[in-house]
C-alpha cells in the first residue's frame, strides 16, 4: 500500500536521512544555546571581570532571579497560555508571608505556608476564570495583574502604614526559612546563592516532566491543539488550571526568595514589568508565542542570556545610558542566532 503513496513517500525519504546530529539540532533550545555561547564569548573578550571564575556566582544569581519564574512560564507558554500577573504575584506571595507573620506574631513558617496556599489559589483562579470565560489568557491575567498590584500596595499600607512590609528578620523561624530560600555557600571559591541550586533542580524536574511523562505530553497537546487534545480524552481544563497553579507555586518560591534575601522586608510596588522578562526568557529559549512547542531548558538558557547581558554590560564598564540599547541588541542577536540555527536544523 505504501507504494501507492507517491509524494508522501518521497517526503519520508528526505526525513529518514536525518542523523543524530540533526536530531540534536532540531531541539527547541539548541538555538538559544548557541546564542548563549556567542554572548559568553563576546563578554569574555570585552569584559575582563567576566573572565574571573569567582564572578560566575553573581552572573548565575542574576540569571536565577529571572530563571526560576521562567520555568513555569515556559511550561505555560508551551501549554498555549500567558500569565501577565506572574511578576506581581511574586511580590504578593512575599508580602503575604511577611505581613501575616508580623501582624499576627506567628512563626515565619506559618506565613510561608499560607503564602503558598494563596499563590496556588491565585494560579487556580487565573486558570479557572480562563476556562470558565474562554477569554484569552492575556486579558484574564491582565486583570489579575492590576488587582494584585493594587492589593499589594493597599494591604501593605493598611497593615504597616508604609509601602514596605515590616521586617520579620527577628521572628521565630526566620533563620531556618532563610537557609532554605535565600542562603549562600562557597564552592571552590565561588559564592553560590541557594536559589541557583533550586533553579537547576527545578529546571531538571520540569524538563523531565515535560519530556518524559504523560503530563508533559498533555502540556504539549493542549498548547498545540486544545480541541484535538480534548477529543482524544486529554483533560484540557485540568492541565491548563494545573499549569497556572504551577506558575503560582513558583511565584511563591520566588516570593520567599525575595522576602528572605531582603532581610524579611518586601517593597509592595515591586514586580511590575518582570512578567515580560519571564516571557522574553521563554521566547529566547525557543518557546513559541502561540504554544505547543518549546522547552524548559531553553527558558533557562534564555534567562542565562538575559543575566549575562545585564551584568556583562556593567562588567564591561560601558556607559549605563546605553544599557537598555545594549540589552536589546544582545537579545536580538541571541534570537537571530536562535532562528538561524533552527532554520538550519529544519533544512536537514
Amino acid at each position: 500500500m505504501a507504494s501507492t503513496i507517491t509524494s508522501p513517500a518521497a517526503a519520508d525519504d528526505r526525513v529518514s536521512t536525518r542523523s543524530v546530529g540533526a536530531r540534536l539540532l532540531s531541539r527547541p533550545e539548541i538555538g538559544s544555546l548557541v546564542g548563549a555561547a556567542v554572548i559568553l564569548v563576546f563578554f569574555l573578550i570585552t569584559a575582563p571581570p567576566f573572565r574571573d571564575i569567582d564572578n560566575t556566582g553573581t552572573i548565575l544569581y542574576q540569571a536565577a532571579l529571572i530563571g526560576v519564574m521562567a520555568v513555569p512560564v515556559s511550561l505555560l507558554m508551551i501549554g498555549g497560555e500567558f500569565d501577565l500577573s506572574a511578576g506581581v504575584a511574586v511580590t504578593t506571595s512575599g508580602l503575604t508571608a511577611g505581613i501575616l507573620a508580623y501582624q499576627l506574631s506567628l512563626n515565619v513558617w506559618v506565613g510561608v505556608v499560607v503564602a503558598l496556599a494563596l499563590s496556588l489559589a491565585i494560579g487556580a483562579f487565573n486558570g479557572w476564570l480562563l476556562m470558565r470565560t474562554g477569554l484569552p489568557s492575556f486579558l484574564v491575567t491582565l486583570g489579575t495583574f492590576f488587582i494584585l498590584q493594587g492589593v499589594n500596595i493597599a494591604v501593605t499600607r493598611l497593615t504597616s502604614g508604609a509601602v514596605a512590609s515590616n521586617s520579620i528578620s527577628d521572628m521565630d523561624g526566620f533563620d531556618a526559612a532563610k537557609a532554605v530560600f535565600a542562603s549562600e555557600f562557597t564552592l571552590g571559591g565561588i559564592t553560590i546563592k541557594i536559589i541557583i541550586v533550586w533553579w537547576i533542580v527545578f529546571v531538571a524536574i520540569a524538563a523531565w516532566v515535560l519530556l518524559r511523562t504523560k503530563i508533559g505530553n498533555w502540556i504539549f497537546a493542549v498548547g498545540g491543539d486544545a480541541a484535538a487534545a480534548r477529543a482524544v480524552g486529554v483533560p484540557v481544563k485540568k492541565v491548563k488550571i494545573g499549569l497556572f497553579m504551577t506558575v503560582g507555586f513558583f511565584a511563591w518560591f520566588a516570593g520567599m526568595q525575595l522576602l528572605f534575601i531582603q532581610n524579611g522586608v518586601v517593597q509592595s510596588g515591586e514586580g511590575v514589568g518582570k512578567e515580560f522578562l519571564y516571557i522574553i526568557a521563554a521566547v529566547v529559549g525557543g518557546c513559541l508565542l502561540t504554544g505547543g512547542y518549546g522547552s524548559v531548558v531553553g527558558g533557562a538558557i534564555g534567562a542565562l542570556i538575559f543575566g549575562m547581558v545585564q551584568l556583562g554590560v556593567v562588567y564591561a564598564g560601558w556607559n549605563a545610558d546605553w544599557f537598555k540599547a545594549f540589552l536589546g541588541v544582545m537579545l536580538l542577536l541571541a534570537t537571530i542566532v536562535n532562528l538561524i540555527v533552527k532554520n538550519k536544523a529544519e533544512e536537514r
Binding site: P49, N263, E270
Partner: protein
C-alpha cells in the same frame, strides 16, 4: 560633532549655508546653553582609581542626571574612572553592588533607598576592603553598614521644613503627590509635611513615569477638591505637570515642589511654581565620590560619623537669580 558640521558646511554648497543660517532660531536651542563650569579645575596627580556609583534610579531621570554630573565632576578632578549603573529593583541594585565588588573597584558610592535589599552586599564590599559612601537615601540605616559617610537630605526634616514654609504661606489644604509607589523617601516627605499641617494634607498616588496619566489624575483631583490651595509635588517633572493640571481644572491651587531643574528654575522665576525645596543632588554625587578619594588619598572622613545634610534649601523668587544659571547648566 560640531567640527564635523563645520567641515560639512565648508564642503557643501553655498545655498546650504544660507539655508542653515536662515533656519537658525534667534533664541533658545543648544547655542544658548552655557558650558558647564563645574569640575573644570586641574586634575589631581593621585593614582588612577575606579569608583562605582550605583543608584536606584529608573532610566532617564533628571534628578539622577544631576547627581551623576556632580559625581563625574568630582571624578574628573580626582583622576577617577566613574562607573555609573542603576536599577530601581532592590534585588537587582544589590546585585549591581556585587558586580562592583567582582570588578574590584576602589570605591563604591551607593543609594540605600531599599536598605534591606542592598545592605548585605554593602557590608560585603566593606568586608572586602572597598570603601563605601552612601548618598541620597538610607539615613536611618547607613551607620550599621560601616560606610564612610552619608550625603543626603533627611527627608522627614525636609518635609517638616516644607510644612513650616507652607504654613507661613497660609496653606489650608495641601495635596502631596507621591509619584513612585514603594519609595520610602517620598513617603517621608509627605509625612514631614503632615507632621506640621496635620489633616490639611492629603496624599495622592500617581505613576511618575506616565506623564499624561499623572496630569489626568491631578486634574480630576483638583476638580473634585475645590478647597485645595497647594499642590506639593515631590519632583520637578511632576510639579510642572501639576501646573498644567491646575490650569486645566480651573483651580486656583498653587504649586510647590521638591528638587530643581532647568525648567523648574524658569517656573520659579515666572512664578508658576511658588517655591522649590532643593536637596542639591549635584552636591550629593560630588561629595559621595570626593569622600572616597579623600579617604583613599588622605584617610579623611566627612561628617564626623553623622550624616552630612545637603538640604533642604528653599528656592523662591527672592533667591532664584543666584541659582538660575547653574540650573540651566544642569548642575542644580
Amino acid at each position: 560633532m560640531i567640527r564635523w558640521q563645520k567641515k560639512a558646511v565648508a564642503a557643501g554648497a553655498a545655498f546650504a549655508l544660507a539655508a542653515a543660517l536662515a533656519a537658525c532660531s534667534s533664541s533658545g536651542g543648544k547655542q544658548e546653553e552655557q558650558s558647564s563650569g563645574g569640575g573644570g579645575a586641574g586634575v589631581a596627580d593621585t593614582p588612577r582609581m575606579k569608583v562605582a556609583l550605583i543608584t536606584h534610579s529608573g532610566p532617564g531621570d533628571t534628578f539622577w542626571d544631576i547627581v551623576r554630573r556632580g559625581a563625574e565632576a568630582a571624578a574628573k578632578k580626582d583622576n577617577i574612572e566613574l562607573q555609573y549603573s542603576s536599577d530601581p529593583d532592590g534585588a537587582a541594585q544589590a546585585n549591581l553592588v556585587q558586580t562592583a565588588i567582582d570588578s574590584k573597584v576602589d570605591g563604591i558610592a551607593v543609594t540605600l533607598n531599599k536598605p534591606d535589599a542592598v545592605i548585605p552586599n554593602v557590608k560585603k564590599a566593606i568586608a572586602a576592603g572597598i570603601p563605601v559612601t552612601i548618598l541620597n537615601g538610607g539615613l536611618d540605616s547607613w551607620k550599621q553598614t560601616g560606610a564612610l559617610g552619608y550625603f543626603g537630605q533627611d527627608e522627614r526634616i525636609a518635609g517638616r521644613a516644607t510644612g513650616n514654609k507652607l504654613k507661613s504661606l497660609g496653606a489650608k489644604k495641601v495635596i502631596c503627590v507621591i509619584h513612585e509607589q514603594g519609595n520610602v523617601s517620598l513617603e517621608a516627605r509627605c509625612q514631614g509635611i503632615t507632621d506640621i499641617l496635620g489633616d490639611a494634607v492629603e496624599n495622592v498616588n500617581v505613576n511618575g513615569t506616565d506623564q499624561p496619566g499623572t496630569q489626568a489624575t491631578l486634574t480630576s483631583k483638583l476638580q473634585a477638591d475645590k478647597n485645595a490651595d497647594y499642590v506639593m509635588a515631590l519632583n520637578a517633572g511632576i510639579a510642572l505637570t501639576a501646573v498644567t493640571a491646575a490650569k486645566d481644572a480651573g483651580s486656583s491651587a498653587k504649586v510647590a515642589s521638591f528638587d530643581m531643574s532647568k525648567e523648574m528654575a524658569k517656573a520659579v522665576k515666572d512664578g508658576t511654581v511658588e517655591f522649590a525645596v532643593d536637596q542639591q543632588p549635584y552636591l550629593q554625587g560630588y561629595l559621595a565620590v570626593d569622600a572616597i578619594w579623600l579617604y583613599k588619598t588622605n584617610g579623611d572622613t566627612i561628617g564626623g560619623g553623622e550624616a552630612t545634610l545637603t538640604g533642604p534649601a528653599f528656592i523662591d523668587k527672592t533667591n532664584i537669580a543666584a541659582v538660575e544659571k547653574y540650573a540651566a547648566a544642569g548642575t542644580r
